[in-house]
Amino acid sequence: MNSDRLTTFKEGARAAIPVCFAFFSITFTLGITAHAAGLPSGEVLLMSAVVFAGPAQFPAVDLLSLHGQALQILVSTIFINLRFAVMSFAIAPHFKRVRTAGLSLGAQLLTASTFAVSFLRFQQRSGGDNFVYFLGVAIPSYACYLAGTVAGYYFGVGIPSGFDEGIQFIFPAYLAALLASELRERQTVVVAGVAFLTTPVIEGLVPGWGLIVNAVVVATAAVGVEAWWESTSQSS
């Protein structure tokens, strides 16, 4: 790795520090849940390593302790993780110069947080080092994710009660802070605000699909409004 790439990787790794806090807290809770469900530590660690998606892992941990739930676990995993398809599609334009082999390996490290941190950086500065930056964010985050799983499994019972609320709030607080600190353009602030407010409405209309449907509807409406605004401005 040359010095420019190393610098970019380190920049990504620094940006991953809050992600590490968020991931560690999420998988710490997952480790506690898996221990309580009676799963062996190797299984929950393997799940964190190959799935790397908290929202799909929590229900799976519960269902694995029951028998004959294989199909339900697999189908629910696919549905819960459909959001990754949308995120992959959205971030792909920033990885134009990356080889297929590199993309195939890096794809495993795409999560909501690694996507959000990388995407917001690409809005300010985008170039040939995008993928190196993404790996700088994603590799330490992945390590924290696995470390949190192990720590939660073995040491989770020692955590004092009352910290649950704080731990569960880390993830939304982190993403909200990231948006608030990075957003500059008025249109994107409006889009982010509208998407936040419409999520419960859309989720109420299409339960389980709120995230994907809401994102598509809001983005399409925003592009439409922007195009209309531009054409109106040009004609007047």
């Binding site: 190959v50 294989a70 676990i73 792909a92 959000a116 609320e165 569960q168 607080a173 995230l211």
Partner: protein, 105 residues
């Protein structure tokens, strides 16, 4: 049973990986117009905002909890927008949740 569990876990991994890699490789080969790039940009911000909503609601045990989470989220956004450092905003919000939950809200 251990073998069955491992098979299920590997199945979860393969399914999730396919969702991650296939769109990435497909979109990677496309040439996008400026309007499509803009759509993807808005799509990304919408996804992140929706994640904030789901994380905000998830784990809130009652309306009271949701109330103090709302205060904490507002403070998170204000601090982060003011200082432009995400981890400071996050720390402010999480601190408020911890303090208010210990006060019995």
């Amino acid at each position: 049973m251990v073998g069955e569990h491992v098979a299920i876990i590997l199945g979860m991994g393969v399914g999730t990986y396919v969702l991650r890699v296939v769109p990435l490789l497909l979109a990677h080969r496309l040439t996008l117009t400026p309007r499509m790039i803009r759509w993807f940009q808005f799509l990304s911000f919408s996804i992140i905002s929706s994640f904030v909503w789901f994380g905000f609601v998830k784990g809130a045990s009652s309306l009271d909890t949701l109330g103090f989470r709302g205060i904490a989220l507002g403070l998170t956004i204000l601090v982060a927008a003011r200082v432009r450092i995400s981890i400071v905003g996050m720390a402010a919000g999480v601190s408020v949740v911890l303090i208010l939950s210990h006060m019995g809200w």
